[in-house]
């Protein structure tokens, strides 16, 4: 199932990040459906200090490819557009950058490569190694809890509050998506 511009807009609207950001203004990165190395990992950021937005986008997209189910395509453009709205001047945007820095620094020290260059299995191991699978989200917690909040749940929230993400589960109008006051009346599709 393909994630569309509407999904990214919906995910942003669900969490209040549309303010002031024109969706789709940025070039969407090419997305051919997953697999490591799809995106060129040529970000100028060298792994030191806070990552720039381009590096955040690369890393978040790479992580999304393991968090999202196989049958989802269009991940690169979706995450990119979603982050257009999330990487604003807020405390939240800072939290995302800092958590991505944790993930990148672990990737570099354990695998000697940025997240985007790891295989899917390595990215999965990396997130589990960081404890982001068992941690409960907490924006002010341990590294694992912050990665869970700002990276893992950030991306899962984006997917499953969008119409396409909801539809995967059987609800085209999921909580958080303003999908109208008709779908609740309709029978199974």
């Amino acid at each position: 199932m393909e994630l569309t511009r509407r999904d990214a807009a919906a995910a942003l609207a669900a969490i209040g990040a549309t303010g002031g950001v024109a969706l789709g203004v940025r070039r969407a990165t090419d997305d051919r459906g997953g697999g490591p190395g799809d995106d060129e990992a040529d970000a100028a950021w060298d792994g030191e200090g806070p990552p720039d937005d381009e590096a955040v986008r690369e890393a978040m997209t790479a992580v999304a490819r393991v968090l999202y189910p196989e049958e989802v395509s269009g991940i690169g453009a979706f995450v990119d557009r979603f982050l257009d709205g999330r990487l604003d001047g807020s405390a939240h945007a800072e939290g995302v950058r800092a958590a991505v820095a944790e993930v990148e620094s672990a990737a570099r020290s354990w695998y000697d490569a940025p997240v985007a260059e790891l295989s899917a299995a390595e990215r999965d191991d990396l997130l589990r190694g960081l404890g982001a699978d068992t941690a409960e989200e907490d924006p002010g917690g341990t590294a694992a809890e912050r990665v869970r909040f700002f990276v893992v749940n950030e991306l899962l929230l984006a997917l499953y509050s969008s119409p396409t993400g909801g539809e995967l589960v059987g609800i085209e109008n999921p909580q958080g998506y303003a999908g109208g006051a008709e779908s609740y009346q309709e029978g199974p599709r």
């Binding site: 942003l12 609207a13 669900a14 969490i15 209040g16 990040a17 303010g19 393991v66 968090l67 999202y68 189910p69 196989e70 709205g85 999330r86 604003d88 001047g89 807020s90 405390a91 939240h92 945007a93 939290g95 999965d124 997130l127 699978d133 068992t134 409960e136 989200e137 907490d138 924006p139 002010g140 909040f149 893992v152 749940n153 899962l156 929230l157 997917l159 499953y160 509050s161 993400g165 909801g166 995967l168 589960v169 059987g170 609800i171 109008n173 999921p174 909580q175 958080g176 998506y177 303003a178 999908g179 109208g180 006051a181 008709e182 779908s183 609740y184 009346q185 309709e186 029978g187 199974p188």
Partner: protein, 551 residues
Amino acid sequence: MSGAESVGDERSEAEGGADEEVDRTPVPDADVCVVGAGPAGALVADRLAGDREVVVLDAGPRFDPADRLARQERAIRPFYGRPDVWGVGGARDAHENAGDWFYPLNHARVKGIGGSTLHWQGMVMRLHEDDFNSGTERGVGPDWPVDYADLRPYYAEAEKELGVAGASDNPYAPPREEPHPMPAFEPSYSDSLFAEACEELGIDMHSVPNARNSEPYDDRSPCVGYGTCQPVCPSGAKYDATVHVERAEERGATVVDRAPVERLEHDGDDRVTAAVYATPDGERHRQAADAFVVAAGGVETPRLLLLSDSDRYPDGLANGSGHVGEFFMDHLFAGAGGTLDEETRQNHVGFYTSACDQFYDEADAEQAPFKLEFFNYAGPSPVEMALTGDDWGDPLLERLRDGYGNHVAMGGLVEQAPQADSRITLADDRTDDRGNPVPQMEWTVGERALDTIERANEIQVEILEELGADVEWVAGPDATGPAYHHMGTTRMSDDPDSGVVDADCRTHDLDNCWIASSSVFPTSGAMNPTLTIAALALRVADDVEARLSGM
């Protein structure tokens, strides 16, 4: 600003932001001072503001409408508890529980401009005619000193003020003179499944009135299906009292946030003279006025009266009867749910569209009135499920598909009879952020309500079984909880020894003090209280105006 945690923490004093410029000093020559900016206070203020100098003081903050989506994110993300969505809790909202039954007070209210309607679900029914005569008709509790006919025109007005979507298909509802202001929401898909089972059993289903726009109304959006009505509606389709606060301000009222009233002062002629309130800068002010309307909700209203004790009123202001704080009641939840072997399409919206009032008026001394609800939000919401668990990718999707899709559930509310030992008092040794004794909840529920919960459960299980559901849970007498409706704590009575306020909701002891709240309900019925609160608030406003004109 995006992000759930980017929203300020309204509980903390430091979160004033660019707040310094806000003028929180008293309004000179005020006619009316209203304490509390929930629906009760906001409706009184709006109604009086055109002709009178009105000032409203509220303990909580003014929430930025631009933050509603971030609050919705809080509603969905597991890190945040329900009280966090609207910044409830902390020292400001401390309380004690000392009764047989635990009462989760900070899940049950919001402090701030708009009050608890920011969080509410917005189901708005009229009480039944017998609810006003419970003593005579059912042999339980006192009769109200007003009856349905007295409130009927005010109910109609309240429905217009709040914006109610409803239909006249409910044969059990009390008589009404005109249609609801908006058409009812269409029944849900799962309602159609329930309808077959109910028909088989001879149980009637009908629409249910919602304070939620089924079409554009009052310059507010129709419902767009965000599905998080409780605790936050980002679209404004669900009514909340900011509607009337804003209108009152446009008509000239002054509304002061973060201004908790700590006591009411009176003179030797049994008139309230001033509301003493605190402001975030640590100052204390006195707001004088000719008339006072206390609309601080069913817990803080009796607390404020108890805090305002004086030599003349040693047991608390307006407490000549000794009943301030007593007879605390809530509605008890009765529910059951399970799964079907087919899709049920839940959690698209956060409100319900069908109910059953068929058994309501069977009530007598043994059986309480109760109503049944057919949920549209049974079982888990996939997005919330997705954020907890140690899986992702395909295994997570698998888990979501297993967990979502075929749940059904019913709810219901049951009346509790008034009991003097179910009450709000002041805690002996615990104070809030201002050093004032916190409310102590002693909530007790009697046998009649517990037996009636069982009766409601029987019907619910019968319907679910007829539907072919595998019944997986029953919220019976042991698992029941409150519906967050705070009633009875300043009860209404013609007799000054038996009640705190008279039939006009004016305190027996003080001539210029009214109470607008479900705290005046002598008995509670089993209908959600806020439409009745609104009707009484409009009536209070008319009485205040009449008395000010006659002064």
